[in-house]
Symmetry: C2
Subunit: 433 residues, 2 copies
């Protein structure tokens, strides 16, 4: 363990996904899936590195790169041992740096950058311990788990003692759930059959392929054209049949009243949830929509900036599904906080994934949720999109619509050197085409 973080490097990695409209939705019409890619080096002889990313849509990735550089003085020069001895304090130091917090606080580019650095520390920590991150956390005592969490701004709804109690209740049955996961994997749903910009025949074909692979839960994109929404829902429902689960995603396209209106003609397709029906900041708006469209569920979180937003989404009974993004929350420490909040409020966690590296992160987090925190799979599933996994050293393994637990040490986020070189912006080979 004895080693000091001796250097941090950060690269601007972008995949030109907008050329195929993969990832397109009502609001993000042309995403280039991108990563602000962080590598921590140490002074140890074993040359282990900590890798971490934040995910962006292309332009603006360079702003996150600048934000990583702004934070690096808080990690370079620190001993890994002293960091992991008090992970909560380490996290607080990054998030509440006295000058940098102004450009957040706990939101936007600086918080996205925090996630990349914090998760790189976890990757390094897990590699040193020779465990995947999910297993590292699953082997922690409830006290060790809780020590990773900064309870600032949460204590009105969740005290440290209450968090300990949540973890202790599931503690004695952890081993059985871990064994179950190793055998069966964690349930998933698929998004990549239904991107907004794909033509009908492509969607049909992708639905058929996904069904053949064992997928039973499908998400489609909806937007501001009501007739197009109905058309797409009808087409996908025809393909997947009445028993498969359909989810819908508006990606913030609507105002509160519009969300209620736009969902009316879509109710007959029996969606499990409508995701991001309006502004991700509108807690009370989500609560209003949820009351109006019952029994369709409301899901959100990929743009919810921090645990304070999730706390309120749950306090206000605004969501049926909690969909944090592992790069938008400030790294695993804050994710653990939100897992605890979700357990307290009984809200199922279905992490946002897709993008680049998000599936790789999400599998660890859902395993931690099941094994240590919620102990439940009810209404819980990880998003899956079938893009860009080939660039990872330890890509996700999905069998029969289930994520199989990663076995390699670390956070599964390390990309292949040749992919990093090819996609580096703007000098990489893919950007010179």
């Amino acid at each position: 363990m004895a080693r000091t973080i001796s250097g941090l490097s950060v690269r601007d990695i972008r995949a030109p996904t907008s050329r195929t409209l993969a990832g397109s939705d009502a609001v993000h019409t042309d995403p280039d899936y991108s990563a602000t890619y962080v590598v921590l080096k140490t002074d140890a002889r074993d040359t282990l590195e900590g890798h971490g990313i934040t995910f962006t849509l292309g332009r603006g990735n360079e702003v996150c790169v600048a934000a990583v550089r702004a934070l690096q003085h808080l990690v370079v020069g620190s001993a890994l041992e002293s960091i992991v001895a008090d992970m909560g304090a380490f996290w607080d130091r990054l998030v509440h740096e006295s000058q940098l917090r102004w450009i957040g606080p706990e939101k936007g580019a600086i918080h996205l950058a925090t996630a990349a650095i914090v998760n790189a520390v976890w990757d390094l920590y897990a590699k040193v311990e020779r465990k995947p991150v999910w297993k590292l956390v699953a082997d922690m005592t409830p006290q060790q788990f809780v020590a990773c969490v900064d309870f600032r701004y949460m204590t009105d709804v969740l005290s440290r003692d209450e968090a300990l109690e949540i973890l202790r209740r599931k503690s004695s049955t952890r081993a059985a759930r871990e064994a179950q996961m190793r055998k069966e994997g964690y349930p998933a749903y698929i998004t990549s059959a239904g991107w907004m910009g794909y033509p009908d025949d492509k969607v049909r074909q992708l639905c058929r392929e996904a069904l053949a692979q064992g997928w039973t839960r499908f998400k489609i994109k909806v937007g501001r054209d009501s007739a197009a929404n109905v058309h797409r829902a009808e087409l996908v429902r025809q393909e997947i049949g009445p028993d498969a689960t359909m989810m819908m995603d508006a990606n913030q396209a609507w105002d509160v009243g519009e969300a209620i209106e736009f969902m009316r003609p879509l109710a007959r397709f029996n969606p499990l949830w409508i995701e991001e029906p309006t502004s991700p900041d509108d807690i009370l708006g989500h609560a209003t929509i949820r009351r109006a469209i019952h029994p369709i569920g409301v899901a959100t979180g990929e743009h919810a900036a921090n645990r304070v937003m999730f706390k309120q989404l749950m306090q206000a009974d605004a969501i049926d599904f909690c969909q944090f993004d592992n790069c938008r929350l400030g790294g695993l420490n804050e994710v653990l906080a939100v897992l605890l909040l979700a357990a307290k409020f009984g809200v199922p966690v279905c992490p946002h994934a897709g993008g680049i590296g998000l599936c790789e992160y999400a599998q660890h987090v859902s395993l931690i949720d099941y094994i240590c925190v919620s102990g439940s799979l009810d209404n819980r599933m990880i998003e899956f999109a079938d893009h860009l996994h080939e660039h990872f050293r330890d890509p996700v393994v999905v069998r029969g619509a289930r994520y199989m637990p990663p076995a390699a040490a670390g956070f599964s986020i390390e990309m292949l050197p040749e992919s990093l070189d090819a996609f580096e912006f703007p000098a990489g080979r893919e950007w010179k085409k």
Copy 2:
């Protein structure tokens, strides 16, 4: 008017205020008041420029500089005439750029950068019209005013028609309020007597000087040391006497339960408000605190990211005073939206100021609020701090604790070239000392 924005330059300007602890509070212990400084040039012969800033605390200013560069393609090359013909659409284009919005949306570095660019456009527009910005807006018809506002995510509580009606009600009496302002100025309160890091004797002396200058409303900083809070409140109350108004500012130092506890021993000093008692994102937390500490008011806003947050702070009855920051909201267009929300909910607007350039901006906005929107001065005042005004070409004029309306064309934000050179980071003279 016919001119095209032909170039944008951006500079990293920082004042080493941490050396004197000016601006220090419980959370921001060592701010270096800084500006991401934007200049728009045009192809017109008159060489008029648009200047705009966003305010930061030092480290991280370079991240905002990067964010400005990321946005510049949305303004450079545009005709000013086409921008001002549909200001709402222009604003929406910046804020919802399909890739950049991911690193917000509408929050953090990208939104701070948006403010600098948007307000630089307003500065240019007002200079072309040969009016100060407040007068430019005060001369708009209600329709023109409303056309500057993007109602996205607000229509559940404020429609365009309702906004028009709010403005029309005050329309016929605008001239009288404008004349009153030119004569009397706009009321203010002073913060710079009570910075956290100042010793007792300095605070005493600054209170005495401020009283002699006519100040009757004073804000002090409080924090996590209850005895120190009481000591400071007692000292300032002794100096300013029982009739002067005292406000308190916790700068997010407390959790919800702590805020209620920490305010208990401070109630006897009769504070008008407690400002930022907890996380700026915690709408429901502010509402809980407000109910618990009545009749002490709750104020917040300098860290509230956007109009959606203000909408909810008002919907939830969480605040008695609305304190948006003119650089944190995405420029004047979004400020106008929040002025309309505040008028609808009857919440007085007391803009955050101090820092660098914030007093200069705030005076325009409060004049617009009084003349066009709220028509009221009840419980309304602009913050004032006596730092760094000497670096502005058209600095605020405060007489008898009132801001006198600026007369020069533009947004009063243009800094002196020699100050920009001296404070440029890291190469300027002040940083080589």
